[in-house]
């Protein structure tokens, strides 16, 4: 019997398939298993030039980032002594050593990063750090107008630096390459705008102005980013189908990876956040799953524009979940109980 005849005999066999509901249900069960059984080893990175790997680790991997910061701090020790270095790394806005951290240590680390992608990641991580610090001191009623202005200035610098880095990546490697950082920056601003909005509801005399002005500033920056993202999408969709498809594929890989990571993260922080936030996170994670599934279906159907939008939104939502969970866990550990009740944390 010829191969073609055999294929004809078995051609009907492909009609047996999972329904979309069955596939999604089984997928959720398998992913749940993955989350509950995390890797018990440290995966080996792919073949990359050593310096690129080192630089990428700076912003992408917290452990490595802190290791690098430790090295740079060691250099600081030469100038300022060990005590100053350690204290500077833990300094918050308004404190004397805060400038040592922002003007010296962090700038030195930034200078050491050569890879554009790693540099953009580092700038985004600095932005997040600034906003977390602001949220921390606000929880201690120490974010006055002057400190708020200082934070806003630093935030503007980090956003400008990150945007400049992302632009470079897009010019050198195409639109899709800068997508992840772009979406991460947008997600950071959205998530922090939400947290700052909640924090600004508490109006302690002398501090209300500082937190409100920072919340408004971040909200404006997030709105500007949203508009820019719309323009970039229009620009991307004007390009050829292959470019849009490649960008959608990058977004899908990132979205799928984040989906698993964020699910594990939510579970790990379950005890540290409020019940309502946990429920919100689970609902948002469901939305991410649906967007990924729909995005994948659109990609397979050749509807690349729609696939890109869905998957980019999935990446953004997943990032936002991670940020608001992280922030709430941090702030709940520091906020007085009455404040927790007032702002719904």
């Amino acid at each position: 019997m010829e191969d073609q005849d055999m294929k004809k005999v078995f051609s009907k066999s492909h009609e047996v398939s999972l329904s979309p509901e069955e596939r999604a249900h089984a997928r959720a069960a398998v992913m749940n298993f993955v989350v509950k059984n995390p890797l018990t080893f440290q995966p080996v990175q792919g073949q990359q030039p050593r310096w690129v790997f080192f630089a990428s680790m700076l912003a992408a991997r917290p452990v490595a980032k802190y290791a690098t910061l430790a090295v740079v701090s060691l250099m600081t020790v030469v100038f300022f002594g060990a005590g100053v270095s350690v204290a500077a790394n833990n300094a918050l806005p308004g404190e004397f050593l805060y400038s040592v951290k922002t003007e010296f240590t962090e700038r030195l680390v930034r200078l050491a990063i050569i890879d554009d992608s790693a540099k953009a990641n580092y700038d985004i991580s600095l932005l997040q750090k600034r906003l977390q610090e602001a949220e921390q001191i606000s929880s201690k009623n120490r974010l006055d107008a002057l400190t708020s202005n200082r934070v806003q200035a630093l935030v503007s610098i980090h956003i400008a630096d990150a945007k400049s880095g992302i632009r470079k990546i897009k010019q050198q490697q195409g639109v899709g390459a800068g997508l992840v950082q772009d979406t991460e920056l947008q997600a950071s601003l959205n998530a922090h705008a939400e947290v700052l909005g909640a924090l600004s509801q508490k109006t302690t005399p002398g501090e209300a102005e500082g937190i409100k002005s920072l919340a408004v500033s971040i909200d404006d920056q997030a709105a500007t980013m949203r508009e820019e993202q719309q323009d970039e999408r229009i620009e991307l969709f004007a390009k050829d189908a292959a470019t849009v498809r490649d960008s959608a594929n990058i977004a899908m890989q990132k979205a799928q990876s984040l989906q698993v990571q964020v699910a594990a993260f939510i579970e790990s922080k379950k005890a540290d956040v409020s019940v309502s936030t946990y429920k919100k996170a689970m609902t948002d994670l469901d939305s991410v799953t649906i967007m990924v599934l729909d995005g994948k279906a659109a990609l397979e159907a050749g509807d690349y524009n729609n696939a890109f939008i869905l998957l980019q939104n999935a990446v953004g939502t997943a990032k936002q979940i991670k940020i608001y969970i992280q922030n709430q866990a941090l702030l709940r550990a520091q906020l007085p109980l009455e404040t927790v009740n007032v702002i719904g944390f």
Binding site: M1, D3, D5, M6, K7, V9, F10, K12, S13, H14, E15, V16, S17, L18, S19, E22, R23, A26, R27, A29, V30, M31, F33, V34, N37, P38, L39, T40, F41, P43, Q45, G46, Q47, Q48, Q253, Q256, S257, Q259, V260, Q261, K296
Partner: protein, 170 residues
């Protein structure tokens, strides 16, 4: 699993790409939709368990098939094989799509009969080759045999399929 993207992402992609095919492979082995879904799900979970312990998997597709195959063999050892006649009596549901035309329905039944009448040793290779589109090398990895053995078995399986089809036609 040697790419640069995170292992979790590679595994998720492996689910999205092969889940349907693994399900189909299980279905044509056990002729039971629910069991086939369970086998497929369990095969993925066991594969992840293996990977999460840091053990190396060169060809994840072949590995999942092999895991599913082992699960089915284990199950068959535990329980007596259900005949196709019993399946037909219970109601045959090869597809979830209710719009499948009548002729397809009968074609599906005939196909099941062909598969059911094949010798066990030929059924595996036929399912993997013509239903799941695996290469001979991948089949050899799944069944843990040499490529030459697989070639021979495929050739003999094709002869048996011909015999069954001709018999059914007459």
């Amino acid at each position: 699993m040697a790419e640069t993207q995170p292992i979790e992402a590679q595994f998720t992609r492996a689910y999205d790409e092969y889940a349907d095919a693994i399900f189909r492979y299980c279905y044509y082995r056990v002729f039971d939709r629910e069991k086939a879904k369970d086998f497929m799900q369990e095969a993925y979970c066991r594969t992840w368990k293996y990977i999460s312990q840091g053990k190396k998997v060169d060809n994840i597709r072949a590995f999942i098939y092999r895991t599913a195959n082992n699960l089915i063999i284990d199950e068959a050892r535990k329980k007596k094989h259900i005949s196709l006649n019993q399946i037909m009596e219970k109601g045959f549901s090869p597809s979830v799509d209710n719009r499948v035309a009548t002729e397809n329905y009968f074609a599906g039944k005939e196909l099941l009969k062909v598969i059911d009448r094949l010798d066990e040793k030929y059924r595996d290779v036929i399912l993997l080759k013509y239903i799941d589109d695996l290469s001979t090398k991948e089949i050899s990895l799944v069944l843990n045999e040499t490529e030459n053995n697989i070639y021979v078995r495929l050739s003999r399986a094709a002869a048996q399929v011909k015999k069954i089809v001709n018999h059914q036609a007459s």
